[in-house]
Symmetry: C2
Subunit: 413 residues, 2 copies
């Protein structure tokens, strides 16, 4: 396994403030990894609302099924996350383990099982022993304290090479409220050892349905616009928790996502999601380059997204980037296979601002040496104009390197 930190990692974990109403604790339960923490407990004050978006996999993990079923009534008092075992494809025993974990947590945290949210990441198909939580849960509840963000982000890592966190402050009415989020990603999405999990916390008083709307809209241009290898885990989970603690300081209660008072908050919330999802791309397995794919001139934003994902998921495009080759022929290929309308004679392609193809042929002013220089950068932009309409979209990905093969092709044992 690769252990070196991704060259695309931020220089350090951000300074993240406490979120009133949220306490955190971590423990080493020995689920899979020796000598490191692998369980995160978050405790929430009474009145905390929760929203969630999940993998579209038709074979979701037991914790995903559990959380989905608990989004209504959508009250949260605790979140338990473990790394090492995904509790996916574990059948009835897996569902029983999920229920038992919620019951153990509810007993220790003095709440109801349905107020406990769960996420697991790690190996698929391995029996998941809820008893491991039993041993550490009382200590976790006692130890829970505000602001332990970096420890929390580390406890949920699998093949990640750095912990991922982001924070923002926004005014709700005239009251500053805080948003803090953590994520894990790496091999987006390697179900054997990785999965995208992210948890966002705020003290803003936002009703469940408004929070759900906020999250569902926010994810579209952030986590849903990041791809590492096109694979989709059984366990992808993004949960948002709003404690409402800021109401005591005079923050207005938000019941509808369309409330104009939410505008600044939405912007900050989306920025946290954008930062976390970009960090996931920066920690793509074996990644050496961050790739931003922009598609313009499409018939619609939806069409632009499909074309952008086709480019971002193409192994041939991604290996070309790894090889620092401004190989726009492969971009043409990926545009052509996306299934959206494309007219060769209207297509233009840029690598890092250098136009390499224009209106159906190689750009007459194309300078391969200049393009090669651009490709040596750690961050590469591939821009495509389809010349058909006004639809535009943006997707982040990373290059495909031999290290990806090494990480995913090595023996599991």
């Amino acid at each position: 396994m690769a252990t070196a930190v991704s060259p695309l990692a931020p220089s350090r974990f951000p300074d993240m403030p406490e979120v009133p109403g949220v306490r955190l604790a971590t423990a080493a339960a020995g689920i899979r990894y020796p000598g490191r923490t692998d369980v995160l407990l978050a405790l929430f004050e009474r009145g905390t609302t929760v929203a969630g978006v999940f993998t579209r996999s038709k074979c979701p993990s037991a914790p995903v099924d559990w959380c989905r079923a608990k989004l209504e009534p959508g009250r949260a008092r605790a979140l338990v996350v473990n790394s090492g075992n995904a509790n996916a494809f574990t059948g009835k025993a897996g569902r029983a383990a999920t229920k038992l974990t919620a019951e153990i947590t509810a007993g220790a945290a003095d709440c109801r099982p349905r107020e406990v949210f769960l996420a697991s990441t790690g190996e698929i198909g391995e029996p998941h022993e809820a008893s491991r939580f039993d041993k550490v849960m009382d200590k976790l509840v006692q130890a829970a304290a505000p602001g332990q963000w970096e420890a929390a982000a580390k406890a949920i890592m699998t093949t990640d090479t750095f912990p991922k966190g982001a924070t923002a402050v926004a005014r709700l009415g005239k009251v500053p409220v805080t948003i803090c989020g953590i994520a894990k990603g790496a091999g987006m999405i390697a179900p054997d050892m990785g999965t995208m999990l992210s948890f966002v916390f705020t003290d803003a008083p936002i009703a469940r349905s408004a929070l759900q709307n906020l999250l569902a809209r926010g994810v579209d241009d952030t986590f849903n616009a990041v791809t590492i290898d096109g694979d989709t885990s059984t366990s992808d989970t993004l949960l948002a928790f709003a404690t409402g603690a800021a109401a005591a300081r005079g923050a207005p209660k938000i019941t509808r996502a369309s409330d104009p008072k939410l505008a600044a908050f939405r912007k900050a919330f989306d920025a946290v999601l954008a930062s976390l999802s970009e960090q996931v791309a920066r920690d793509g397995e074996g990644a050496r380059k961050l790739v931003e794919v922009i598609v313009e001139g499409a018939a619609s934003k939806r069409a632009a997204r499909r074309v952008a994902l086709s480019i971002a998921n193409s192994p041939l495009v991604k290996t070309a980037v790894a090889g620092e080759d401004a190989n726009w022929g492969r971009v043409v290929m990926a545009v052509g296979k996306a299934g959206e309308r494309a007219d060769r004679d209207k297509l233009s392609i840029w690598f890092g601002g250098i136009r390499v193809a224009h209106k159906g042929a190689r750009d007459p002013h194309y300078d391969e040496a200049a393009a090669s220089q651009v490709m040596k950068r750690p961050e590469i932009q591939i821009r495509v104009n389809l010349g058909l309409g006004k639809g535009r979209d943006r997707v982040l990905t990373c290059d495909l390197t031999k290290e990806y093969i090494a990480i995913n092709g090595d023996y599991r044992s």
Copy 2:
């Protein structure tokens, strides 16, 4: 670039008989590769019918556009194939080069330009100079002779590590007729240097529309069921030519694909397509293992195909096979992301005949050591039963190795 022959290659090129009415010649036109042949000319007797299936790319190459437009009336007197330059994304100049090549060939072969079929494979976006054909065409026409299959298969290679040919004999009525085919593939489908091209020739007298039907149906479970990296070239072309020469020996003329006299021929024709497409999989860039993915118990054959392609195109499944890891968690992931109905609790998975997962959980009798033994073989079967219906399908692919990255990630220059 890799030059060693794929370990999955057949031991030798097959003995392939002449096809009456077909003559072949090759030449070195210096399009891209020094010291090797790069142009193939096939000449056909008057009365030869032609059928074709092509890439679904929305940005097809100029030769693909040319051939599509000439399928009706569907008379062929010549086929010109070059390697080294795909004449794709070359705009108006590329279309002009295609037309000029057909005119040059028609002049030399004494036929009409619309009776000349064209295919090009190689770099995208490079101007294609038809004048190169001018220099060699007269010699090619003079040299054309029956039975030069291996030379023909070699002239169309790009990153292929071995020439691909297949042959069969079938009775049409009481008369034996011959089918011979050649193909190139390798990086299915690397538009920089590779593309899937295949050409099949027979002396059976089959009308254009019947031949088209035969080809379109035959391709579904052969070439369309092979995937290397999920990428789709701008140039994929499969053409079938029927000279009708066997009519002189008493073979009945076939005008409808539903003619019962065609049954044995169809079987032989499909076997040639199956062999050629399997050879393409065996020469996947960097391939060390041939992978057969079988999906059973799906709601329909179409659903089974989607699930099988999802598994076969998953980088995580393919790297696991490269690592000889019976990682069925990744197969679950790929089933889940396929978008077809899947019930975790009904799913069973086998690697090479060993059942590793059954009814929603790890098989209680699963023996990891036995599974590991199976994974060491050069040919791996992954079988999935969804437990939902009677739909079944089969797809071939290969593993994803560091060599794939090396081949596709090296500098183009």
